[in-house]
C-alpha cells in the first residue's frame, strides 16, 4: 500500500532567483517503509521534507497521503510526527508536557493520555523522566523526547530531519539502531533526511539520492551501492572510480568497452543506457573491486603506484593507469610496495557497472 506520494513536486523560493530548491521530484513511499532522503548539503532534502510536513507548499506538483491530495493542507491537519534537527522541544514544559502536547490537541482523555505518554517514554527508555525540565536532559535524551513526542500521537508518517547530527559519533550509532527498532515496532512509515551515507545505508529500506534539487536515484541500499545510476551517485555513496572508456559494442544490458591496454571487456549496464558503438561510457568500479597483481598476469592492467596508505585492514593505493589515477583498496598487498612500483591491476569485472554522467 502506498502511503506518501510526491508527483512532479518542485519548489522555487521567491527570493532565490530562478533555481529550484526542489526540482520535479517523483517519489512514492510504501506504508511502513523507512525511506531516506540522502544528499549533500543544500540539495533540497529539508525542503522536500518540509513540503511533506506542510511547512512549505510546492510551487508545482502534488503530494498525496494514500489517495488524499494534501498538497495545500496546513501542517496541523496532516497527522505527521516530525523530529527536528535541533529537537524543538518546548523549553517551558516538562518532558511529560512536551509529549502530552499533541494528545491535548487531539483531546485524548486524561487516563488514556497518561498511559500513552508512559508507553512512549518507555519506548525511548525515558520512563520516569516525565517531570524533568528540558534543560536537565542530555542531548541524547532530548533527542529521544523529541522522538517520543512525535510517536505518541501515532502519526501516519514520521518525519526526521537529521535527528542525529547533534549527537557524538558513538551515541549516533546507538541511536540509529534505536530509531530503526522503534519505527519497525510501531509500523510507522518514516521519511528520514540525512547527508551521512553510512547512516542511510544502515537504516533504510530505500534511499533517494538527491543532487541540486533533483532525485538522481531511488533504490535499496545494496542496489544504490552496486548499481549507481549516475557518476555522482557512484562517488557520493562510498568511493568509486568512474572511468571513461570507449564503447566497442552495445547490447541491451551489456556494453563492451575497450580497456587502456587494448583489451576489451563486457560491463553490465542499465537497460536505458542509450550507448552506441563509438560513444564513451562511464564505468564505475569501486576501489575494493580492484586487486593488485604482477604486471605479467593475463588480463591485468599495467600501472604505476603513486600513493600508498596502510590503514590496517586494507591498504589504499592510487595507481596511475594510462595517465589516470585509479583508487584501489587492497586487502592483500605484497610487502614493501612503494611509490613508483610497476603493478598490474586485476579487475573484478562482474562488479563493474555503466553509469550515466
Amino acid at each position: 500500500m502506498i502511503d506518501v506520494t510526491l508527483e512532479s513536486v518542485s519548489k522555487r523560493f521567491a527570493r532565490a532567483g530562478d533555481t529550484a530548491a526542489v526540482d520535479d521530484v517523483d517519489i512514492s513511499i510504501a506504508a511502513g517503509e523507512f525511506f531516506t532522503l540522502l544528499g549533500p548539503s543544500g540539495c533540497g532534502k529539508t525542503t522536500t521534507l518540509r513540503m511533506v510536513a506542510g511547512f512549505y507548499f510546492p510551487t508545482s506538483g502534488r503530494i498525496r497521503f494514500g489517495t488524499e491530495d494534501v498538497t495545500h493542507r496546513p501542517p496541523n491537519k496532516r497527522d505527521t510526527g516530525m523530529v527536528f534537527q535541533n529537537y524543538a522541544l518546548f523549553p517551558h514544559m516538562s518532558v511529560a508536557q512536551n509529549v502530552a502536547y499533541g494528545l491535548k490537541i487531539r483531546k485524548v482523555g486524561r487516563a488514556e493520555s497518561a498511559r500513552r505518554i508512559e508507553e512512549a517514554l518507555g519506548q525511548v527508555h525515558l520512563a520516569g523522566y516525565g517531570d524533568r525540565r528540558i534543560d536537565q536532559l542530555s542531548g541524547g535524551q532530548q533527542q529521544r523526547v523529541a522522538l517520543a513526542r512525535a510517536l505518541v500521537i501515532r502519526p501516519r508518517t514520521l518525519l526526521l530531519d537529521e535527528p542525529l547530527s547533534n549527537l557524538d559519533a558513538k551515541l549516533r550509532e546507538e541511536t540509529r539502531v534505536e530509531i530503526r527498532r522503534i519505527q519497525q515496532e510501531a509500523g510507522t512509515t518514516a521519511i528520514y533526511v540525512t547527508h551521512d551515507q553510512s547512516e542511510a545505508m544502515a537504516m533504510s529500506d530505500r534511499i533517494a539520492v538527491m543532487e541540486s534539487g533533483r532525485v538522481r536515484q531511488i533504490g535499496a541500499p545494496q542496489e544504490i551501492y552496486h548499481r549507481p545510476a549516475t557518476a555522482f551517485v557512484a562517488r557520493f555513496i562510498g568511493r568509486s572510480n568512474v572511468l571513461s572508456l570507449p564503447v566497442v559494442t552495445a547490447a541491451a544490458e551489456t556494453v563492451t568497452v575497450g580497456l587502456p591496454d587494448g583489451s576489451e571487456t563486457a560491463v553490465a549496464a542499465p537497460a536505458d543506457h542509450g550507448l552506441r558503438a563509438g560513444d564513451t561510457a562511464l564505468v564505475s568500479v569501486r576501489p575494493e573491486h580492484l586487486g593488485l597483481t604482477s604486471t605479467t598476469e593475463a588480463g591485468a592492467l599495467p600501472g604505476r603506484v603513486t600513493e600508498v596508505e596502510f590503514t590496517g585492514m586494507a591498504t589504499n593505493l592510487v595507481v596511475e593507469v594510462a595517465g589516470e589515477p585509479v583508487q584501489v583498496a587492497a586487502i592483500d598487498v605484497p610487502d614493501g610496495i612503494t611509490v613508483g612500483d610497476q603493478v598490474g591491476l586485476r579487475l573484478n569485472r562482474d562488479r563493474m557497472w555503466v553509469v550515466r554522467p
Binding site: T5, I27, D69, N86, F90, V215, R227
Partner: protein
C-alpha cells in the same frame, strides 16, 4: 513485520495514480492557513492600517496644516527670516551639538573609569549610574532646577557658605538646559562605550603597547577607532533626543527652541506655525532614523572580536586611591541628589520654602492631600487609566508587529519596521501636534469623531509614543526563540493561533511584560505630549505637577513626583528580575531620556 519496499526497482518510481490530466491542485478553502502566501498580508494589513492611521497619516495632516494657510511662507522664515523661527532652529541645533559634546565627554569618561579601573565604590556607582536618566522627564528637569538654578539648593548653599551677595555658580537659561541634558543623556554614551569596551579584546590593546606604542598613541590609533561605531550611534541618539527635548527649555525658560515654539504657537492658537515647526522636526527625525539604520546596517559587517573581558586595572598609587575614593563619594552624591531633592521637597510645606537653602518646614500633608482630596487624586487616576489603556493597545499591536517583522515573509516588511520606529523617533511634541492636526476633525481612523478635547486623544498619544517600547522588547525576545518550536506545535496538530499562543507568545512573555511595564511607567510619567492635548478632566500627573509648580505648590508637586519615581523604581527592579541582569534598566535608560 515486513517493511520490504513496495516498488524496489531502479531509477525513479512512477507515480501511483495515473490520471492522464490531473485536476488543478486543491486550494485551502476556509480558515486561516498560516502557510499560504497570503496569510502574512491578512495579519499585517490591520497592523499597517493602524500605523498608517495613527503615525504616518497624522504626520501628513500636520504638513498639510502647515502649508494650508500661507503656503510655504512659514517655511521660508527658517531660511530668510531674521525672526524667531530661524533663531529657534539655530538655538536648538546649537544646544543639541553642545549636548552631544558634553554627554560624550562625561559618558565615555565614566565608561573608562568604571570598566577599566577598580576602586572603592565602583560597584555602587555602576548600580546607580542610570538613576538620573530614569526619572520621568518633567520631574527630572524639576529636580535639576531645584538643585542648580538661581534659586537652587547648591548655588544658595554656596552663597551662604561663602557669604557672597548672590547665589554662586547658578545654572540658568541654556546652561541649565545643558546640565539637564548632560545628566539625562550621557547614558547613551556610557552604555554604548561600556558595551564596546567590555566586548573589546584586551589583547588588541596589549598588542599595540607591545609593539612600542605610547599611551596617547594607543588611544588615538587603537581605542578610539574601535569605539567609533558606538560613539557615532550615541551621538546621533543624543542629538536627536536633545532636539526633541521640551521640559528642560520649558523649566529653564529658553523659549527660542523648536519644541518651545511648537508649544507657544499652539497655545497662542497659531496651529499652522506650530505645524511648521513640527514638520521640520519630523523631517529631522526621519532623517535621523534613516541615518541610524544606514549606519547600523553598515556596522553589522564589522564583527567585534570576542575574547576574555578586559581586566580592570587596580589603582595602586595611594594619592590616586584617595582621589578615587573622594570622586566616588562625590559621584554618588551627584547621582542621587535629584531623587533625594524630590523626596525632601515632597515633605515640605507648600509656600514655606522661600529664600532658605533647603525647605524649613516639613509635613506629610502633601501626600495626604494627593490621596484624599478628590480633585487632587483625579490626575493620578487619569494617568493610571490612560496609561493602562495605551499599554493594552501597545501590547496587542506591538507583539503582533514584532511577530510579523521577525517571522513572516511579505512585501513591505521593512516599511512596517520603519513605521514603528518612526513613532519612536518623533518628538513627543510632534506626536501631539500630529494628532491635533489629524483628529481635530472627524477622520476615518477616528470613526468620524473629533478626538481633540476628548479623553481618547490622550491614550492614543501614549499608544503612539510607547508602542515602539513594546515592539522592541518583544522583538528582541522573539529573536531568541527558535522558529521551529512553533513549527513543532503546528506539526503536532495545533492551529496557528494555538501554536502562537501556547508556544511563541508564551515564550515571549518576559519580553512582552518588560516592554509593557516600560510603556506603562512611561505613560504615567508622560508630560511632553500631554501638555498640548489635555483637558481639565484628563490632566495627567505630570501636567498637574507643572500646574502646581506654577502656583508655587512645590511640595505637592514633588509629592506627585515621588509617586512617579517610586513606581518607576518598583517596575525597574521587577523587570530587572524578569530579564536577568539589569538589562531592563539599561533598556529603560535608552527610552526614558
Amino acid at each position: 513485520m515486513s517493511t520490504i519496499p513496495a516498488t524496489p526497482s531502479a531509477a525513479t518510481v512512477p507515480p501511483v495514480t495515473q490520471d492522464p490530466a490531473p485536476p488543478p491542485a486543491a486550494r485551502p478553502r476556509r480558515g486561516l492557513n498560516a502557510n499560504s502566501p497570503w496569510f502574512p498580508y491578512l495579519l499585517v494589513f490591520p497592523l499597517a492600517l493602524i500605523l498608517f492611521g495613527y503615525v504616518v497619516q497624522p504626520m501628513f495632516a500636520t504638513f498639510a496644516e502647515s502649508v494650508g494657510v500661507d503656503g510655504v511662507a512659514n517655511y521660508t522664515e527658517f531660511v530668510t527670516g531674521s525672526g524667531v523661527a530661524r533663531s529657534a532652529l539655530l538655538t536648538s541645533l546649537g544646544i543639541s551639538a553642545a549636548s552631544v559634546l558634553l554627554c560624550g565627554i562625561v559618558g565615555v569618561a565614566m565608561a573608562f573609569l568604571l570598566k577599566r579601573f577598580s576602586f572603592p565604590g565602583r560597584r555602587l556607582i555602576e548600580a546607580i549610574i542610570l538613576v538620573p536618566a530614569a526619572l520621568p522627564p518633567l520631574i527630572g528637569a524639576i529636580s535639576f532646577q531645584l538643585l542648580y538654578s538661581e534659586t537652587g539648593i547648591l548655588p544658595r548653599g554656596l552663597q551662604q557658605l561663602l557669604g557672597t551677595e548672590n547665589p554662586v555658580l547658578p545654572f540658568t537659561g541654556i546652561a541649565g538646559v545643558l546640565v539637564v541634558h548632560t545628566f539625562t543623556m550621557y547614558p547613551f554614551f556610557y552604555l554604548a562605550a561600556s558595551a564596546a569596551l567590555v566586548g573589546m579584546d584586551p589583547s588588541v590593546e596589549e598588542a599595540a603597547y607591545n609593539l612600542g606604542a605610547s599611551r596617547v598613541r594607543v588611544w588615538r590609533t587603537v581605542l578610539l577607532p574601535m569605539l567609533t561605531p558606538a560613539l557615532v550611534s550615541a551621538s546621533l541618539l543624543v542629538f536627536m533626543t536633545s532636539l526633541a527635548s521640551y521640559t528642560a527649555p520649558l523649566l529653564f525658560g529658553v523659549d527660542r527652541t523648536m519644541t518651545m515654539q511648537i508649544y507657544i504657537n499652539r497655545t497662542n492658537g497659531d496651529l499652522p506655525m506650530a505645524s511648521t515647526y513640527a514638520s521640520v522636526l519630523a523631517v529631522a527625525s526621519v532623517l535621523f532614523l534613516l541615518g541610524m539604520r544606514w549606519y547600523e546596517g553598515r556596522r553589522s559587517y564589522r564583527s567585534q572580536s570576542k575574547g576574555v573581558a578586559s581586566h580592570r586595572r587596580e589603582i595602586t598609587n595611594p594619592f590616586g586611591k584617595w582621589l578615587a575614593l573622594l570622586a566616588s563619594v562625590l559621584a554618588t552624591m551627584v547621582l542621587l541628589a535629584p531623587v533625594a531633592t524630590i523626596a525632601l521637597v515632597a515633605f515640605s510645606r507648600d509656600g514655606s520654602w522661600t529664600t532658605e537653602v533647603i525647605p524649613s518646614e516639613y509635613t506629610t500633608a502633601n501626600f495626604v492631600t494627593i490621596f484624599s482630596d478628590p480633585g487632587a487624586y483625579r490626575p493620578i487616576l487619569n494617568s493610571l487609566q490612560m496609561s493602562l489603556l495605551a499599554t493594552v493597545g501597545c501590547v496587542v499591536v506591538g507583539v503582533l508587529i514584532a511577530y510579523a517583522v521577525r517571522r513572516l515573509d511579505f512585501r513591505g516588511r521593512g516599511l512596517l519596521d520603519v513605521a514603528v520606529m518612526l513613532a519612536w523617533a518623533l518628538p513627543g511634541t510632534v506626536v501631539a501636534i500630529n494628532l491635533i492636526s489629524a483628529f481635530s476633525t472627524g477622520n476615518a481612523f477616528s470613526f468620524g469623531q473629533v478626538l481633540i478635547g476628548t479623553f481618547w486623544i490622550m491614550p492614543l498619544a501614549y499608544f503612539v509614543r510607547f508602542l515602539p517600547l513594546v515592539f522592541r522588547s518583544s522583538s528582541a525576545t522573539l529573536a531568541q526563540i527558535d522558529p521551529s518550536l512553533e513549527e513543532a506545535a503546528r506539526n503536532l496538530g495545533a492551529p496557528w493561533w494555538r501554536a502562537f499562543g501556547t508556544v511563541t507568545l508564551r515564550l515571549m512573555l518576559p519580553g512582552v511584560l518588560a516592554g509593557a511595564l516600560l510603556a506603562f511607567v512611561n505613560g504615567v510619567g508622560e508630560f511632553v505630549a500631554s501638555v498640548l492635548i489635555y483637558t481639565s478632566e484628563t490632566a495627567p500627573i505630570s501636567v498637574e505637577i507643572n500646574n502646581r509648580m506654577y502656583s508655587f505648590e512645590v511640595g505637592t508637586a514633588a509629592a506627585y513626583g515621588m509617586l512617579q519615581v517610586v513606581l518607576i523604581f518598583v517596575v525597574m527592579v521587577f523587570s530587572g528580575r524578569l530579564q536577568n541582569g539589569g538589562r531592563a534598566t539599561r533598556e529603560a535608560a535608552k527610552w526614558t531620556a
